[in-house]
Amino acid sequence: MKTLLWRASLRYLGRHPWQTGLSMLGIALGVAVVVAVELANESARRAFDLSMQAVTGRASHQIIGGPAGLEESLYARLRRQGAAPLSAPVVSGHVTHGDYSLRLLGIDPFAERRFRNFLGYAPDGQGEGLLRQLLTRPGAVLMSRTLASRLGLRVGGSLELLVSGRKRQAVLAGVLHPPPQKAAAMTDLLVADIATAQELLGRLGRLSRIDLILPEGDRAAAGAVEALLPAGARLTPAAARARAMQEMTRAFAVNLSAMSLLALLVGMFLIYNTMSFSVLQRRELLGTLRVLGAGRRDILALVLGEGLLIGAAGTALGLLLGVLLAQELVQLVTRTINDLYFTLGVSGLFPTPAGLARGALLGVGGTLLAVLAPASEAACSPPRAVLDRSRIEGRAGRLIPSLAGAGAGCILVALLLLLPGRSLVLGFVALFGLILGFSLLTPAAVALASRLAAPLLGSLLGVFGRMAVRGVRASLSRTGVAIAALSIALSATVGVGVMVGSFRLSVQQWLEATLRADIYVSPVTPSNTGNEASLDPALIAAIRSVPGIAGISQGRPANVQSGEGITHLYAIRMARGSYAGVELLEGRPGTVWPLFDREQAVLVSEPYAYRHGLHAGDSLTLDTDRGRREFRVAGVFRDYGADHGVVNMRMSLYRQYWDDDSVYSLGLYLEPGVDADTMVEQLYALAGDRQALRIRSNRTLRESSMETFDRTFAITNVLRLLVIAVAFVGILSALMALQLEKARELAVLRATGFTPGQIWGLVTTQTGFMGLLAGLLAIPLGLMLAMLLIHVINWRAFGWSMDVILPGGVLAEALLLALAAALLAGLYPAWRMARTPPALALRQE
């Protein structure tokens, strides 16, 4: 580009520091949100990979069994038969030490070297000694020195572990010094000899799995192993198992990414808005440059160059903010994964160049995309038109019907996109199409609203009111964009707010309906590890004999293999009062319950039915300890507990097919007149030191479930607040620019006799009107977005159905926010115009 044009452009940006700065901040916040979410997602993914790598090592395949694991003898048989020369038995489980949740990995140190070789991380010369300790010292465990220092432990010191609520004593036999890239994966890992682990975890004679290294692509080797497997055991590629686990969090990650893209979209709108202003403000200058002989390409390059500069600076700042924000978000993401999916011990941030580069590309690319329209507008208009303000507004006015038509078309296409299929991505495309369509309709809505409001405001505020409203209509090329940007940002907050509010209320109602027992009892375990824990049978017997208990339901969660990966099974012995708590979405109680109680039938949750395309009457295949079996789907029930879905099976049927008679939780139905809190205390006293229990009354469990829900949506709320922040900054900048552009008009009014107070009144009436309009327009779009989020996105992502519930606060909040941003935006121009002598303002123009 020509040097002088570039210099003129740079100085223009420098002379409008507020506008330039706010544009950069808008982009920076948009980019920061995207980068932070991207990094948080990626870090969680990487943490998962690291954790899996640490425990899987170089295994190519794994032999896994049912909920109770594998018989130890299987490993010996495999070795004896020579079917798997490279194999290693593993026992793993989750334990707690104080507030820390840890993974205990039991290994056979002799078979281990080709798989993980933890002892290779022993300090120089200590390998043999550590091996001896592991094999001979009761309760000996190893851990990384980072973990030892985090737990405040020294070598030789003992540590108390809580396993399924039972106390166990272990000894820190030594610390490992893994290289940095492995250290992150070992921040929650305890390594023990297999016999020690079996003892600590209470799984004598059982293995969690057998790791194998099989020659790549050697089907015969795999076949030889499979031939030796008992019913219920299964050979599976190690990566497939990891993929199945990670797949569980996919929808969660996609939703977060979409939410962050919404922030960027709002940011892009605001960039478009700012750059449009910047072009319009300089229409005379650009016209002059064209008259002087600057070509279209020069003007295009000039405006794009400015956009690129603002975009690059904003993106750089955004990357920095993004990394800072990601430090917090990764904790929220990890916590949500821990609450909902599986235990993820690693929660560090792993910023990757690729993640940052993607953020940078989105920021700069998004900015250029947003600038393209105003840049080509400036470049393609003939020089005379660039000079002519009225022509711009005239054209904007003439464009209204076409824009409205295009907007309606966009909305129609978006709605058509929703008709077929279950694609989540198509759902998001429709969502963004709806936003685009609505924004194209905005100028028509503004023109109409201005026409209708002029007489009303005129009668209320006299000439000020009429001037304010007509000013909005007269500058439609700018006000239309500003109002569209504000209403879109606000609608996003309304949509997400209504969605979260509806979801919360639905969960609350569901909990009230489902939790029928008065007291719930389970062992103290890390979240999502209930399938590894069980209640002491003697304790269950003792609880049964406590007077005042009318009925008991029993539950046992288990992860079992099915054709499509892992199925979360919940074996349940229902008490009489439990049946009413199950809301059947498919199937009538009269037919469902007899099937469930007596036949080879199960109930599937709504998300499970959605994911697997199941309906009442269909059948479902599960790998049992007796081999692969089919179960009839008796009905589909409402369940917000897990988005990956759950299959409910009666306890007796479960025990018939799986060798597992443990019970994880009890639901106690008290006799009339028995106080739940007193009973809770009585049960705690009964458990004593035998087993650490979590005993919660119905109310406490509901409260803690809602706490989990709120924690899960904490990240959504953070993102929603960030979208609001982006919108607020952008609106401030847009409306401020609009008013500053009117400096000459306002100076003429001052010269005519308007007092500074009257100017202030005029400016704030106008920005207030625009804010109110944006707020009002945001409500229908926000509600449409909420419907789409609830009925399409949520359904396709998680398979949850729910009703739209309108929380009044969200709508009022949107209106207030719009008014506050708009009024605040009017303050600076009003203050500046009130202070500047009219003559100076006229001369500056």
């Binding site: 100085r11 016209g287 002059t288 440059l289 002087l292 002989g293 279209r296 003939p382």
Partner: protein
């Protein structure tokens, strides 16, 4: 420019331009014919809204007629595409406006350098040329000032210098004194006269002032969309 000397330098043929006013169209130029000779100073007189500025913009290639042709030194600019017209304007035409239209973010010297840079002059050669022109308009000491630091008269002198700095064959001036007091107006007109003659340029000047017009070689009057009267100027 080809420098052909015999024919008219600027020729308007059957020029029509209408503007939309609500639903109907109002003709501003109606099958207008006219010619300007090489090196001639022509003043275009007429009442407000009669189409003077429109004719000037058409001559400068910054607006397009509905029909008809404009030839400048034998080249039909109305047949050119936008890009060719821009390049033609860049090389051959200088504009002066009533409201100066200087680039506010460039200094006086940079405003003059801009057309030269667009025409591919080397910076050193361009700066030498700027110095000459600034000396000619008596603003050598304001080279580093920004437009908003100059008086109206000074700004218009910069605008005159900028219009002539790249040696255009045709200078188009739209009410160049309309925003100046009498003294400054006279100064600017004298300057324009001297520089146009020194540079052997052709000048088309739009004004509604008969006094200003009287300085031209010839006066054309625009009424009802046509050049209706031709007078010889007095003193220009």
């Amino acid at each position: 420019m080809n420098g052909a000397g015999a024919g008219p330098f600027v020729r308007f043929e059957n020029l029509t331009r209408t503007y939309r006013q609500g639903a109907c169209r109002r003709p501003v130029l109606d099958k207008l014919h006219g010619e300007i000779r090489r090196g001639e100073s022509v003043a275009l007189l007429g009442r407000s809204g009669c189409g003077k500025s429109t004719l000037l913009n058409l001559a400068g290639g910054i607006d397009e007629p509905d029909s008809g042709s404009i030839f400048i030194d034998g080249v039909c600019i109305t047949g050119m595409d936008e890009h060719a017209r821009t390049l033609f304007r860049r090389r051959n035409i200088g504009f002066i406006y009533q409201f100066f239209n200087l680039v506010p973010t460039l200094t006086v010297e940079e405003n003059l350098l801009l057309p030269l840079e667009l025409n591919g002059w080397s910076p050193a050669k361009g700066r030498r040329r700027c110095r000459e022109l600034l000396a000619a308009v008596d603003l050598s000491d304001r080279a580093g000032a920004f437009p908003d630091q100059l008086s109206g008269g000074e700004q218009q002198r910069v605008a005159v210098a900028r219009a002539l700095v790249h040696g255009p064959a045709l200078v188009l001036a739209d009410e160049p004194t309309g925003n100046l007091d009498a003294d400054n107006g006279r100064q600017v007109l004298e300057l324009l006269d001297r520089l146009v003659r020194d540079g052997q340029c052709t000048l088309l000047l739009v004004t509604h002032s008969r006094a200003v017009a009287s300085r031209a070689d010839r006066i054309l009057t625009l009424t009802r969309g046509r050049l209706s009267g031709v007078e010889e100027g007095a003193l220009w």
